[in-house]
Assembly symmetry: C2
Homo-oligomer: 148 residues x 2
Amino acid sequence: MKDVKGAPLADTAAFRLGRLGALAADRFTARIAAHGVKPKHVALLAALAAGGAESQQDLAGVLRVAPSLVVGLADRLEQLGAVRRERDPVDRRRQVLSLTEAGHTLLAQCTADAHAVDAELLDGLSGKAKETLRATLAEIADRHGLSI
Amino acid sequence: MKDVKGAPLADTAAFRLGRLGALAADRFTARIAAHGVKPKHVALLAALAAGGAESQQDLAGVLRVAPSLVVGLADRLEQLGAVRRERDPVDRRRQVLSLTEAGHTLLAQCTADAHAVDAELLDGLSGKAKETLRATLAEIADRHGLSI
DNA sequence: TATTGTTATACTCTATAACTATA
DNA sequence: TATAGTTATAGAGTATAACAATA
């Protein structure tokens, strides 16, 4: 009769996801720093590439951050020439963001960095284990409305 | 010939782990707030329960935080009656921390909270998928030296 | 002189509230 | 009056540096 107490804290998915998520984020942050951006900037680029959100309010919703935070992110990306910011002619209160050619390139570079982190992090796992993990993470993210 | 560009950013394990890790951490944080602690306090309790680190320096190493941060964590846990803090008679510079009965109880409560978050987060996955995920996360954590 | 713990300080991230302009 | 974006402000979290006690 084992397991009277249930699995210890460190064996829960919640705790491990938190710990590994922080590790993954740290490594990703270190790599993309070379391009002058941080994870939230990349998330914004990815949200634009995915489509469906182009005003700053919509983007704040998708990224689950305060609208005021999007201002600075967009400022920085515009400064890097990665996004265009244009007033919506129909409703001049809205800023419509779109990816430039440079923005697509930057996103591709950061995506390559994420793949590099994947390789480091999942090194040693079997190919099948990696595939299963990706699929499971995708399903969980999907069930919790994390398109980005 | 698909996949010329490789998987998009949102499909990388690094990005999903970061996102899901933040979600798991948020939910865990919300639950344990009822006990007056935050994730780092719980990590300290778990490290003590796991053994192998009892001085504040050692604990800082295991938790991968600055030693100065451990001071405040231990202060709070001592205030809650969850840990004892005793000078090492052999080397009076060292503070030796240990779990009290209340500390074991607190850790058990927080572990139950983590299980509750697991249930929420992994809801909808098959039992087998959950087990495989736990095993894979454990293996990755282990390979990267994350005992806690 | 080196190390443990502590305190003081500063920096990063992000949210909330106040404000401007449009609607 | 309500909404999109912006700016100002404040709080949480954590690291680094300076300091005290002990080795």
